[in-house]
């Protein structure tokens, strides 16, 4: 694999939540880079600041210290080159809009020609397998389908990087497997970079080209592990590979150490 150009750079990031009841240091000192077109998974114990990190990267939160750079430019607010899929997908879709309008809303201010906008919406709904549900409202869909709407909305926005925060934590195992394959498909067919947060070790190894293990709060990068599994992955055969087991044991060990510290 050729060396990729750096797209995202997080440098000595620190985030402290200030509140009258005392400050919470959610992220201690965190640095990593991500290449264009990469699929990076972040794992870490619950409450270690994964959501906080993503919000800092997406420009929704201002870091207390350090910088986030996207394509060499410092991120100071939300940028059009990033799209977010939230952990609370149910609350991130607007219940008064149809599925189609939810996907369309972020495109309205992009000043695209009507035909192109329609095509983007159709294609992204098609890609997540929800073309038939375009006229439904989010609350008429199952959790897995709602999560797919959130993904369709994000990819229709045509970001360079797709940021996903534990997107499959609340769906059943079968749906989860389908959605994992969907993410890998989108990554390969669209060449979009993906930063994927999860607390499921197997999921991180199965999905990622690289896994970043975070320590518990105040958070640092404990380990950056390259996942040298074949690119063609399959829920049954890949997970049965001895190398898969090795890698997940490796990540598991790091998380245990991160927790113990």
């Amino acid at each position: 694999m050729a060396e990729r150009t750096t797209m995202l750079r997080v440098d000595h990031l620190r985030k402290v939540y200030e509140s009258p009841r005392g400050d919470v240091e959610a992220i201690g000192d965190l640095s990593f880079t991500m290449g264009a077109g990469e699929l990076v998974c972040i794992v870490g114990p619950s409450g270690c600041g994964k959501t906080t990190l993503l919000k800092c990267i997406a420009g929704l939160l201002r870091p207390s210290d350090g910088v986030v750079e996207m394509d060499g430019v410092r991120v100071t607010g939300p940028t059009p080159s990033m799209a977010l899929v939230f952990q609370e997908y149910g609350r991130s879709l607007y219940p008064w809009l149809t599925v189609r309008s939810n996907v369309e809303l972020p495109l309205r201010h992009k000043k695209l020609p009507r035909a192109r906008r329609d095509r983007l919406i159709d294609e992204s709904l098609e890609a997540v397998g929800l073309a038939h549900a375009a006229k439904s409202h989010p609350w008429q869909l199952s959790g897995g389908m709602q999560q797919r709407v959130a993904i369709a909305r994000a990819i229709a926005y045509e970001p360079e990087i797709l940021i996903m925060d534990e997107p499959f934590a609340a769906v059943d195992a079968q749906t989860r497997a389908d959605l994992e394959d969907l993410v890998r498909d989108l990554h390969r067919s669209r060449g979009v970079s993906i930063l994927f947060v999860t607390h499921d070790i197997d999921e991180s190894v199965y999905l990622g080209e690289r896994v970043l293990v975070l320590s518990k709060s105040p958070t640092r990068v404990e380990e950056s592990l390259k996942i040298d599994l074949p690119d063609d992955r399959d829920q049954i055969t890949t997970r049965a590979l001895p190398r898969f087991t090795e890698l997940r044991t490796h990540v598991y060990g790091h998380i245990q150490r991160a927790k113990a510290r």
């Binding site: 799209a83 939230f86 607007y94 219940p95 008064w96 809303l105 409202h137």
Partner: protein, 268 residues
């Protein structure tokens, strides 16, 4: 279900709905005084037929244009102004925390004033005009709408707001596609309360100072001991209230279709 059975249930439902009103009419008729009792008693305790006749004589035909339409006009304008002002001000106040803290005590004070107490003052300022009556209606109906809008706008889900931030949704789109729809269930609650307040104030403002309108006619009849006519005015007021509720119900079902659908799904 067969056609016959369906017709049967429809008839049964109709009979059920009509049952209580018919019962009330019968009881009223039984209690009303008839012309052969004590002299003039039937004048004070008219039966339903007399009131019905007074209704036809006094409110249908040219009187409708003279007496009813002006009232409805003032009521309509009052309601529209209350909704527009309440929602607009409520949205701005709800979105700006500093403005909310600044205005909260003042709003509480004005809301606590019973609007009829304002009538003499507003009358002095604006004269006995339509504007004065509309001002009185607005002075009462705007509060529930304003306060509910503030609460609704404030309670907009933080994740929904962050979603709008992350996708860089513009200010006006955010207002139209996020803030107002998110607040719409609360806004509609406010409007429902505002409507009944508006109807009350329409009548009261006309009773105080007017030469036309429903309230004016009801007081006029009462002062001239035209009891059946007075009652017929009250019947008309009731019908106006029912009509308002029907229009509101229709609008609410359209605007909050998503909300009712969502609640239904949540209840399972």
């Amino acid at each position: 279900m067969s056609a016959a059975a369906r017709i049967k249930t429809i008839v049964a439902n109709l009979l059920f709905a009509a049952g209580l009103p018919v019962l009330i009419l019968v009881a009223w008729n039984a209690l009303a005084k008839k012309p052969d009792e004590a002299v003039g008693a039937e004048k004070f305790y008219p039966d339903p037929v007399t009131v019905g006749r007074a209704f036809a004589d006094n409110w249908i035909g040219p009187a409708f244009a003279h007496e009813v339409l002006p009232s409805l006009y003032r009521l309509g304008i009052g309601i529209v102004v209350s909704i527009v002002a309440g929602v607009a001000a409520g949205t701005v106040i709800g979105l700006l925390p500093w403005l909310r803290e600044l205005t909260e005590p003042v709003l509480e004070f004005f809301r606590a004033i019973p609007p009829p107490a304002l009538i003499p003052i507003v009358m002095l300022l604006l004269g006995i005009t339509d504007t004065m009556k509309i001002a009185v209606i607005v002075s009462g109906a705007v509060w529930p709408i304003l306060l509910n809008t503030i609460d609704g706008v404030r309670a907009t889900d933080s994740i929904m707001t962050e979603t709008a931030d992350a996708f860089r949704i513009t200010r006006w789109q955010r207002l139209w596609y996020l803030v107002l729809p998110a607040a719409s269930p609360r806004i509609m609650t406010g409007v429902r309360t505002g409507l009944s307040v508006a109807l009350i104030l329409m009548v009261i403002s006309e009773m105080f100072a007017s030469s036309s309108g429903l309230g004016y006619r009801i007081v006029y009849f009462q002062r001239n001991f035209l009891i059946a006519e007075s009652w017929s005015g009250i019947v008309l007021l009731g019908l106006t209230g029912v009509l308002l509720a029907a229009i509101f119900g229709f609008a609410e079902r359209r605007i909050l279709r998503w909300y009712h659908g969502m609640l239904e799904v949540e209840r399972g």
